[in-house]
Structures are given as structure tokens and as C-alpha cells.
Point group: none
Chain length 142, copies 4
């Protein structure tokens, strides 16, 4: 399995932030997790609230751990809230099931990590994450 290199992680973060500036979004925080859900890289833009790392991480963490991107998690949370609550129980409350947690797939379609973005609307967060992933020649699943 291809791992996300630090070079690719940097590209994902820079491009996600660049897209946020182009779209004139609020300051973003961007996390890159590896295939085990562990932190590879993170940046919080100037002006973002201090607690934004935990939000970004929780979007990406649920995606990796469940193998399910933020959009699918949100659909499940709305259809069957008690299920996502219970999932959070087993994952120590570290999952936020909304868009902005975007899976990263390699050329063969294997999940090799996730990008989590927070700061603007959930949909805009997801757009920036996907843009960063594509800029690193990898495939996003929103």
C-alpha cells in the first residue's frame, strides 16, 4: 500500500488552503491522517479559532476508521442517529459525522488516509479538501 508521504501531505494542505483563499472562505484548519488514522500533518490558518484542530481531526478520523467519508456519515447520522452516537462511544467521542472529512484513495482505490477541513460551511470545507487531494494526484471521496 502506498502511504501518504510528507511531501504529498504538504501539497494537500497548501492546496486546500489556497482554494479557501480563492473562494474567500473563513480561515481554514486542515488535517491529514494516514491509513491508521494517525496525524501526519496539520495547519491552522491565522484567524481560525484555537479549537479547530479537534474538529478537523474528528472529521477525518471517522472517515478513516469507518472507511466512510463525511457525506455518507452525515446521511447515516440523519437516518439513524443512535448508530452514529454508538459509533462515537467505541471511538472515544472522536468522530464528527459531517462533510469535510474526505477519504484519500490511491490509484488502485485503496483508502490510504483522509483529509479533514473545518472553518467554513461543511460543504465548502469538503470542496477544499477534495481540491487538495486531487492536487496531490490522489482520489478524494467526499
Amino acid at each position: 500500500m502506498q502511504e501518504i508521504s510528507i511531501t504529498k501531505a504538504r501539497t494537500m494542505i497548501r492546496k486546500a488552503i489556497q482554494k479557501g483563499r480563492e473562494l474567500e472562505l473563513k480561515p481554514l484548519s486542515v488535517v491529514v491522517l494516514d491509513s491508521g488514522g494517525h496525524l501526519k500533518a496539520f495547519e491552522r490558518e491565522d484567524g481560525a479559532a484555537p479549537g479547530r484542530f479537534a474538529i478537523a481531526q474528528a472529521k477525518a478520523y471517522g472517515a478513516v476508521m469507518l472507511g466512510m467519508a463525511g457525506t455518507a456519515q452525515m446521511a447515516r447520522a440523519e437516518a439513524q442517529g443512535y448508530f452514529m452516537n454508538a459509533v462515537n462511544g467505541v471511538y472515544g467521542g472522536q468522530v464528527i459525522p459531517v462533510p469535510g472529512g474526505v477519504l484519500v484513495r490511491d490509484k488502485r482505490g485503496m483508502v490510504i488516509g483522509a483529509v479533514g477541513v473545518t472553518g467554513d460551511s461543511s460543504d465548502n470545507d469538503a470542496i477544499c479538501a477534495a481540491f487538495g487531494i486531487e492536487a496531490a494526484n490522489l482520489a478524494p471521496e467526499i
Copy 2:
């Protein structure tokens, strides 16, 4: 960035409590957090219940960490309850998303902390917090 001095924190607390007395509210508890969500000052009026510190702190803590005042948090909790529940997971259950957690902004509009008030209705709590913040020549966001 301007930090909240202990002198300003004292002013905010005294004036918030003074406003509570003027409005003949129940005994108030008032917390001032800095820009990192850490406790700067606190007072609990005589007659307030012993556990009121945690409530006051949780109102202010969520405001600082998310960069979102209590009124906006409550709107989000009512529109998308599972999101605020999940946010509380990543913040260790230390967020109470109702009015009375009021952001403190400096002259340039930067968030430099928050005031949390509890004891009466959430709306009255927020009025007292805002009064205290304005008395210290800073700008409240309820």
C-alpha cells in the same frame, strides 16, 4: 493581539454581577476565559449552587474554542443536534451551547476570550455578560 488583563477581567465580572443585582436576577456565576480558553478569573455570588463554575466555564469554553458565541451554538444545536453532540465529544464534554457564553472582541475584531454567565435565564445571563464586556471597553458577541 491584546490579551485580557486581570484588571479588565475584574471589571467584567463586577459589572456583570452588578447588572444582575439591578435586574434582580438569581445569584450569578461569572467566568472570564483568555484567547486559549483558559481561566483568567471567576466569581460565584453568595447563594449560587456549588456546581455553577462548570456551567459558566462550559458556556464560555465552547465560544472560544469554536469561535462561535452561545446564540449561534444554540441555533446549530437546534438545527443539527448530532453535530453539537459530536463537537462535545472532541472537547471532552466541556461545551454548553446556549446563550450566556459571550465572545470578547478587541478593537480590531479579534476574539481575545469569552465571558460565561450562569444563574438566571440564558438570555438574562447573556445580557449581564455583554454589560460587563462593554464596561471594560471591549466588544461582546452574544
Copy 3:
């Protein structure tokens, strides 16, 4: 039982800080807990590190909960470390057994709360706490 009024709590904090300034100590953080170990008032001087509330509280909390001042707790920790470790287990890790956690006794000798001070050496912290308690016409046990 006499409770510590907010007026007395303010006096204790101001006088403890004033003593610190007289002795040219590092910036102090001062907590006042009631007879149940619950926060009544707190101030952190400008320049004190952001995490100092937790230290001040833990010094005072152990004093109230055990009915044993910081100096006695430290003696016990040095004589029988596993005992104070185990005490911390049952109190959720919220006890720091060193001087600076000072019991507050009323005229009849009843424990009505504790003052916790941190910022300088443990011994200097205790001197400031005791000074504040005496200034409020109450009796310290260091």
C-alpha cells in the same frame, strides 16, 4: 457553619497577590474553594502561564477533600508515595500534594474551604495564601 462569602474570597485573593508583589515573586494564580471543594473565586495575574488554574485548584482541592493542608500532604507523599498516588486515583487525579494548598478555618476551627496558590516556590506560594486568609480574619493551616 460559616461559609466563605464572595467578599471574603475577594479579600483573600487580593491580599495574596499583594503579598506576592511585595515579595517580588513571579506572577501568581490564586483559587478559593468552599467547604465542598467547589470553586468560589479565582484570579490569574498577568504573565502567569495559561495552565496555572489547574495547579492552584489541585493544591486547594486535596486540602479540602482530605482535610489535610499541603505541607502535611507533601510529608505523606514523601513518606508513602503510593498512598498519595492512590488518593489521586479516587479523586480523579485532581490533587497536587505540595505547600500552597492552605486550609481555611473559621473561629471555631472548622474547615470552611481552602486557598490554592501557584507561581513561585511552593513555600512562597503558601506564605501568600496564608497572608490572604489572615487578611480576611480567618485562620490558615499551611
Copy 4:
């Protein structure tokens, strides 16, 4: 108070890693925390173990929260082990008291954050952190 900008945080991380390569150290993980102990930026070099973020963060977190760099924390842990154990209790076990947690001071000497490095020996970790901080025109306290 000057905050650590994302531009400065990037410089600190890149230069710390560059120093590690020059000295032919093991792969490093480097965290930058702000003045409230909150994550500003992080990178984990390729080949570093997955759990290294938590170690880097814990070195820097204790430094910010206590206002005490890793070397001073280690001295305290060796002189009075039960004190640092108790400190860890109140900080949720999030403190690792060894070199490699390096305070960042601005021109006036105020603590504005910390850098945490892990991967090689504690002393080498601290050298890399200090190198990164100086490269950003800020003052390290090891």
C-alpha cells in the same frame, strides 16, 4: 502579544526537520503550539512511528501550560517525581517532562507558544526545536 503566524510555524517545522537531516537523526515529528497550548501546525517525517504526534505534543503542551521548558520539567521530575506525576493528573496525562519541549519567546520575552520535537534522543530533539525557533527570529528556551 505577538502570535505565532502560520508562516513562522512552517519555518520552525521545516528548519527543525532540516537540522535533523543535517545531523543524520532518526525521522522527526515536530509540533508547534500557540500561547494557549493549541495546535497550530504539525509534520511527521516519513518513517516516523504513527504515535509520534502525541509525544511531540505532550512535550510542548507541558511547556506552555506550566510556562516551564522541558529541561526544567525534567529536573523537577527527577527531584520531586510525585509532583510531576500529580501535575500530569490535572492535565489529563498530556505532559511528557523531558527535553524537546522548547518554549518560544517573543522579543519582549513573553511566552507565545512552544515547539515539541520527538524521534531521536531528547537532547537532539531539543537542538532541532531550538534551531527551528531561531530560524523564525524567535527565542527558544530549551
